[in-house]
Amino acid sequence: MVSVNYYLALSAILFTIGALGVLIRRNALVIFMSVELMLNAANLVFVAFAREYGVFSGQIFVFFVMTVAAAEVAVGLALIVTIFRSKQSIDVDEMNSLKG
């Protein structure tokens, strides 16, 4: 059986990639995808520990996270569509009307 440490390492790598994606990329869709990556990194940890300890609660949490992620994507995509309609762009750096 594969040690849980590998899963954790993979999860950490995925999370880092996601976080860097959010920070670096300017395309809103890509940022969303990076957020999904971070969520799934967390899901991986949940599942790995659930299997390690033989309990279901981790897997159940994953279902919740996936549901919330789906809902978030729905809302987020709707927002991006609306922003695109008004700005003809989804570059997050151009969405700066609220700057101080």
Binding site: A19, V22, L23, I24, R26, V92, D93, M95, N96, S97, L98, K99, G100
Partner: protein, 700 residues
């Protein structure tokens, strides 16, 4: 209570309620009743009170102890229990009969008198108001004489004072000659204010009574009085003296008599009813009612009696010098009230009450006849050619009259009867009552007797003067020549009163003493103890022939003297009074009321006005308005607001808030740079924050 069954004591409250009902009817629907209806309602209300009084008389003749009839609880505080209780005893019923009897006659007379009065003065709607006031007076007077406590008496006392004020000022917008002026309302105010001085004395007497005897109720006060007299004799004297102040106000004694002559500004029936026959005798009644207190203090008796005698003499001298027919009678009333006060003061309560009754008869008669004369003059004046109407004409001035026995025969005869009764000529009513007073005075206080005897001489003189001036000689004014007799509604009450003035003496004839035995049930009569001169001990059934002879001779002499001066050579128009020359300044004094009004004006009114002016100008305006308001309040307030505005508001409050706003502004200037609009930098902040929190949690 069994003993009073079948008697009419329980009806006693109607003595007050009957006139009240009458006045309410007149108030409510008088306008629709018309003149005849108003007069009929008012007169029958008063007549009903008289019938009630007669029923009380009958009940008392069966059960002379009388009764107390409680109508309502009034004041119950602590130990003080005052009720509205009617005290029906021989004294109060005597007063009730006089008030309601004479009152009813005057009501009837007033129906005729006011009918013409309101027409001569061009104000017919006032007719109703007159009768409302008159009934109110009867009700208040009945409360006064039927009350069972000094406080209930005081309620009536104030009530009659109010009615007196209202009726003196009945023609409030004119003077006695009908010219627009405040003279009549000033006369009303004078009466009211003078009476307030007297009421002040009454109240102090009442407070002393309550403080030392613990009650206002007559029986309780009288029961406690001997003990107080023993422990603190000065209290009793003080009560009698303060009560005398009240008596002097209401019964027009020195020094408070000055209002009564001015009270003649009211219509003549008012002068007859209130200012001669009934209200002014309230003081005499009060002293009689308080006999147990007065009986305990020789000093009090001495002072009261002397005041009465001095008043009697003093007012009689003024009456000699008056020209107004009503003014003569007014001073005569003061003088006769002096007789009564002197009598009750020295303990001759029956003599005082007797004189009160007979005086009510003949003075009411004289006033009403004088009213008849005045209206006769008015009618005569009315018939003159038009040119004369604009001159100022005084229908009451005796110098305008003369020879009126031919034009007004009925009035002349009843006036003669009244005069003889007042002068004390045998066998008219005044003879008996005045003689009784003189006899008692001679026994108790000789100096009072001398003054009263001289006053009686003056009385006969000024009445003789009046008769000669008014009814004899030649008319001194065309109005007197054309005067007309009054209608029957006025002359019939005059005849009734004339009959009473003739027969009134029968109430207490020597030997029979009906009134004495009657009043014995209410007033305990003490025989005078002490030395009495031999000539005074002669008694023909209570009548002393020497005293009677002296006063009769004096009266006849005075009338003869008046005939010499005024009858033999009647006054011509414009001629000065024949007494003016021989008496000189003395007559000027009499003519001008010894300048007492002027003196009072100088001593009290002017000083009071000065004080009021000083208070208004110096204290109120200069001090309070000018100085205090402007300097202290206004300036102080401006100073305070300036302090609050400048150093406090601008200096402290504003500076703190500016500093705060500057701080917020500066900090927000630097903080706004964080809000750069790049969503990725926010995300980096979140990441760094999370890392920081996790780092803290891991490595703490």
């Amino acid at each position: 209570m069994e003993t009073t069954s079948g008697l009419f004591f329980f009806l006693a409250p109607w003595i007050v309620f009957a006139p009240l009902v009458g006045l309410l009817i007149n108030l409510a629907i008088g306008q629709r009743l018309g003149e005849k209806g108003i007069g009929a309602v008012a007169a029958s209300a008063s007549g009903f009170a008289f019938v009630t009084a007669l029923l009380q008389l009958y009940s008392l003749s069966v059960h002379p102890e009388g009764a107390l009839v409680k109508v309502a609880e009034w004041i119950h505080i602590g130990n003080l229990a005052l009720d509205w209780t009617f005290r029906v005893d021989t004294l109060s019923v005597t007063m009730m009969l006089v008030v309601s009897g004479v009152g009813t006659l005057i009501h009837i007379y007033a129906i005729g008198y006011m009918h013409e009065d309101v027409r001569f003065k061009h104000d017919v709607p006032r007719y109703r108001r007159f009768f409302v006031f008159l009934n109110l007076f009867i009700a208040a007077m009945m409360i006064l004489i039927s009350g069972d406590s000094y406080m209930m008496l005081f309620v009536g006392w104030e009530g009659v004072g109010l009615c007196s004020f209202l009726l003196i000022g009945f023609w409030y917008d004119m003077d006695t000659l009908g010219r627009p002026s405040w003279a009549n309302s000033n006369a009303a105010k004078k009466a009211f204010i003078t009476n307030r001085v007297g009421d002040f004395g009454f109240l102090i007497a009442g407070f002393l009574m309550f403080w030392y005897m613990g009650s206002f109720q007559f029986d309780a006060v009288f029961a406690a009085a001997p003990e107080v007299a023993h422990a603190e004799p000065w209290v009793i004297t003080a009560i009698t003296i303060f009560m005398l102040v009240g008596v002097a106000g209401k019964s027009a004694q020195i020094p408070l008599y000055i209002w009564l002559p001015d009270a003649m500004a009211g219509p003549t029936p008012v002068s007859a009813l209130i200012h001669a026959a009934t209200m002014v005798t309230a003081g005499v009644y009060l002293v009689t009612r308080s006999w147990p207190i007065y009986g305990l203090t020789h000093d009090g008796q001495y002072i009261v009696s002397t005041i009465g005698a001095v008043t009697a003499l003093f007012a009689a001298t003024i009456a000699v010098g008056q020209y107004d027919i009503k003014k003569v009678l007014a001073y005569s009333t003061i003088s006769q009230l002096g007789f009564m006060v002197a009598a009750v003061g020295m303990g001759a309560f029956v003599a005082g009450m007797f004189h009160l009754i007979t005086h009510a008869f003949f003075k009411a008669l004289l006033f009403l006849s004088a009213g008849s004369v005045i209206l006769g003059m008015e009618r005569g004046h009315h018939h003159l050619p038009h040119g004369d109407h604009h001159e100022v004409f005084d229908p009451g001035d005796m110098r305008n009259m003369g020879g009126m026995r031919k034009t007004m025969p009925v009035t002349f005869w009843v006036y003669m009867i009244g005069t003889l009764a007042l002068a004390g000529i045998f066998p008219f009513a005044g003879f008996w009552s005045k003689d009784e007073i003189l006899l008692d005075a001679a026994k108790v206080f000789p100096h009072v007797y001398i003054m009263l005897a001289i006053a009686a001489f003056f009385t006969a003189f000024y009445m003789g003067r009046q008769i000669w001036m008014v009814f004899f000689g030649e008319a001194r004014h065309a109005a007197a020549e054309h005067a007309e007799e009054s209608p029957q509604v006025m002359t019939i009450p005059l005849m009734v009163l004339a009959a009473l003035s003739i027969l009134g003496g029968a109430l207490n004839l020597p030997g029979v003493h009906t009134l004495t035995h009657w009043l014995e049930h209410s007033v305990h009569l003490a025989e005078h103890e002490g030395e009495v001169a031999a000539w005074l001990q002669v008694s023909w059934g209570g009548l002393n022939p020497i005293v009677a002879l002296i006063s009769t001779v004096a009266a006849l002499l005075a009338i003869y003297l008046s005939w010499l001066l005024y009858g033999r050579n009647p006054l011509k128009a414009g001629q000065p009074d024949p007494l003016k020359k021989p008496l000189g300044p003395i007559f000027t004094g009499m003519e001008n009321k010894w300048f007492i009004d002027e003196a009072y004006w100088f001593v009290f009114v002017d000083r009071y006005v000065d004080l009021a002016n000083f208070l208004a100008q110096k204290v109120d305006w200069d001090f309070w308005h000018e100085w205090f308001h402007n300097s202290v309040i206004a300036r102080g307030f401006v100073g305070l607001t300036r302090f609050l505005a400048d150093p406090v508001d601008l200096g402290v409050v504003d500076r703190v808030s500016y500093w705060l706003s500057d701080l917020v502004k500066a900090s927000s200037e630097s903080l706004r740079k964080l809000q750069n609009g790049f969503v990725r930098s926010y995300a980096l902040s979140v990441l760094l924050g999370v890392v920081a929190i996790l780092g803290y949690l891991l490595f703490k």
